[in-house]
């Protein structure tokens, strides 16, 4: 187990978003290792392998082909091995319905993809520096959606 960098996974089918995401971490100069998957199925297949490294934070897009973010979320929370992963929902929309559903399923934070690169960097740096233990204990519907 490497402890000198933060292990991060992003599951998103949008190439542009993946590009923004990796660019942002590159520019943030935080010692991170970012793994990306193109859809939910690919993500789950990886997590289910024996050699899989559990990430500190998993960024999960909701609208993905083959397996949606919601399906991945419920599978992860139902799996003892994975249920400890901090999950950040990373979606274009922030509809009440999606927020409600993901909160109930046990996601840790909800991020609406920012439209400004500076903001993106700010949000991502904030999320990776969260103390999940502390955050989860005081988690409620109001602070679930990350406001920038």
């Amino acid at each position: 187990m490497h402890t000198d960098y933060i292990h991060i996974i992003l599951a998103d089918d949008d190439e542009d978003d993946i590009l923004f995401f990796t660019d942002a971490f590159d520019e943030l100069k935080i010692n991170t290792k970012v793994n990306t998957f193109k859809d939910g199925e690919e993500l789950m297949n990886y997590l289910n392998t024996d050699k899989a490294v559990m990430p500190e934070v998993l960024f999960l897009d909701l609208n993905m082909p083959k397996k949606t973010g919601l399906e991945c979320l419920s599978e992860i929370k139902a799996n003892d091995k994975m249920s400890g992963i901090a999950i950040a929902i990373y979606s274009t929309s922030a509809s009440e319905e999606d927020i409600e559903k993901t909160f109930v399923l046990g996601a840790n934070i909800y991020i609406k993809k920012p439209a400004d690169f500076k903001n993106l960097k700010k949000v991502l740096s904030e999320v990776v520096s969260i103390n999940w233990q502390y955050h989860t204990n005081s988690l409620n519907k109001d602070n679930f959606l990350l406001r920038v």
């Binding site: 949008d14 929309s93 690169f117």
Partner: protein, 595 residues
């Protein structure tokens, strides 16, 4: 009321009849008694007359005897003694007759006795003096005293008979007076009794004719009512029927036949004949409902179809209730109406509604999807712009820089539009939860959303205490925040924005704006600002989607915010009105129904 009147009338007439009968009987009785009295009186007169005659007889016999006797004394001819000899017998017979006539009058009997004694003493005197005459001793003192005595007795007899005669006449007079007063009083009595009876009969006649008039009027009304019912049955497409349960007899109204597509009264009204028309698929349900009716005595409204002979299908609705007649017979009175038109309309309406609902759903899904899906490419454009600006910004020429800025502001504006559209389509969704909420809290939340701009513009906001109302919370908060944002956005430059929120509970009929109100009580909340206002002629246009009164460059609105407000208030069955005056300010008035 009327029934009671007739009942009273009947008993009144009965008593009048009884009274009249009684009076007639009374008159009969009186008449009989009067005639009997008359007869009595006549008899008394006759009797008096007879008594007088007999008394006259006695006097005349005695006078004859006396004068005969005198002649006998003078002539000594015994022939003159005959009346004297006959007198005793005749007087005796007259006495007997008199005795019979006056036997009821003790005074007269007493008088008669005295008269009898007097005549007896007269005759004994005759005999004594006769002896003197025979012996021719008429010059003697004894004869003279006898003769003198005889004269005295005859005078006494005359007086006595006069007394009796007078007494009898006096009695007759009394009786005549009685009779006279009797006969005077009787006609008067008859006349008055007859008059009273006549009055009774006239009253009774009057009463009967009034009753007859009443009955005629009632009959007329009944006739009119019957005709009106007939007409209303035809126009209202319904008919009625009666089922006498015990005797299993039916009666249909004319129009019930027409509802079945038949001529009135063209076949026997029976249950089976009716069942022949009922749609085969509905027969079971119809029969079941009828069974229920027999047990619960009140037929629940039953809907069924019938097939007329010409093949057309009609929808009928039947309702019935049981009644008991005066003699305890159970009857079911029912009403059957043709609801085909209504049902066809309802079916049509349902179809339309379904179509409309589908269209609405599609539209709102389209709206949501469009605005939602548009976000993603827009966000990327914005992100790329920010990347371009950051990384390559200094490589642009001045005009390139300007173009970039224009692209940036266009994208920002597009985002604004999409966000608002999304919000608008969200307020469209019907499945929202109404809960009792404190409007003060919702307003505070809305104010919190605007905190930054309030601080920036140093806006002064005053608010009355708001009530607790059953609302869709997030929508009302949205409404407040849109109105606040509107007032802040359209504030006048160099003027501190003052926003006043007033509240009162009002009656719908006292508010001139609320002519379309469906409830009687409303919560009235007004937002008044001192902003740039607007021309009153745009008061309706202001709530239309994408309608803007100002240049995009001056004010950054999308023309969606107030449409959302309108939609939210509509969702709550409320009303919203706008009043404006240029450079003075605007007032938005919200009416929410008091639940």
């Amino acid at each position: 009321m009327k029934k009671k009147y007739l009942f009273e009338s009947t008993s009144f007439l009965r008593s009048i009849l009884l009274l009249s009968l009684f009076v007639i009987l009374l008159i009969g009785g009186f008449t009989y008694k009067h005639i009997a009295n008359l007869k009595d009186s006549t008899e008394v007169v006759v009797k008096t007359y007879k008594v007088n005659v007999e008394l006259e007889h006695i006097i005349s016999y005695l006078r004859d005897a006396e004068s005969g006797y005198r002649n006998y004394i003078a002539t000594k001819d015994t022939l003159y003694l005959r009346p004297y000899l006959n007198a005793s017998e005749k007087v005796n017979s007259s006495f007997l007759k008199l005795k019979g006539l006056v036997k009821e009058n003790s005074e007269q009997l007493e008088n008669l006795k005295v008269l009898n004694i007097l005549t007896d003493s007269l005759f004994s005197n005759f005999y004594k003096s006769n002896v003197f005459v025979k012996n021719d001793e008429t010059n003697t003192e004894a004869f003279r005293s006898l003769y003198f005595k005889e004269k005295i007795i005859i005078d006494s007899i005359r007086r006595q008979s006069k007394t009796m005669f007078d007494l009898e006449n006096k009695l007759l007079n009394v009786r005549q007076e009685d009779y006279q007063s009797d006969s005077q009083f009787t006609p008067l009595f008859f006349y008055s009794v007859l008059l009273v009876t006549l009055i009774f009969i006239i009253i009774a006649y009057n009463k009967i004719s009034i009753d007859l008039k009443h009955i005629k009027v009632k009959n007329d009304q009944l006739l009119i009512f019957k005709e009106a019912t007939n007409q209303s049955e035809i126009i209202g497409k319904h008919g009625n029927w009666i089922w006498h349960i015990e005797s299993n007899m039916f009666a249909y109204s004319d129009n019930l036949y027409r509802l079945l597509g038949e001529e009135p009264q063209s076949f026997e009204a029976t249950f089976d004949n009716f069942l022949k028309f009922v749609h085969p698929e509905d027969v079971e349900k119809f029969s079941k409902d009828l069974d229920k009716m027999i047990t619960v005595e009140e037929l629940p409204i039953t809907n069924y179809r019938i097939i007329q002979r010409n093949g057309s299908i009609k929808y009928l609705k039947t309702y019935a209730k049981s009644f008991y007649s005066d003699n305890g017979q159970k009857r079911l009175i029912g009403n059957t109406s043709d609801v085909s038109y209504e049902i066809e309309n309802i079916l049509k309406l349902e179809e339309h509604n379904l179509k409309l609902e589908r269209n609405n759903k599609e539209l709102s899904a389209f709206n949501y999807a469009a605005s939602h899906d548009l976000q993603e490419p827009l966000r990327k454009i914005q992100t790329f712009i920010s990347r371009l600006e950051e990384k390559e910004g200094n490589k642009f020429s001045d005009s390139g820089r300007q173009y970039l800025d224009r692209i940036k502001s266009a994208a920002t504006r597009m985002r604004l539009l999409i966000d608002d559209l999304l919000q608008f389509s969200r307020t469209n969704k019907p499945d929202k939860e109404f809960i009792s909420s404190d409007l003060n809290t919702l307003f505070e939340n809305a104010k919190q959303d605007m905190a930054e701009i309030i601080l920036e513009k140093k806006a002064q906001i005053t608010i009355d205490t708001l009530p607790k109302v059953t609302v869709i919370e997030f929508q009302i908060q949205q409404l407040f925040s849109n109105l606040l944002s509107n007032s802040l956005k359209y504030s006048q430059e160099e003027t501190v924005p003052i926003i006043k929120i007033n509240y009162s509970k009002v009656k719908a009929d006292e508010e001139p704006d609320l002519i379309k109100a469906t409830k009687s009580l409303y919560h009235k909340i007004t937002f008044t600002d001192n902003g740039i206002g607007f021309d009153q002629k745009y008061t309706d246009q202001i709530f239309q989607l994408f309608s803007r009164l100002h240049n995009k460059k001056e004010y950054s609105g999308t023309g969606v915010g107030l449409s959302i407000c309108k939609k939210i208030v509509d969702n709550h069955q409320g009303f919203i009105f706008a009043k404006g005056e240029i450079n003075i300010g605007a007032t938005f008035t919200i009416y929410l129904p008091v639940s």
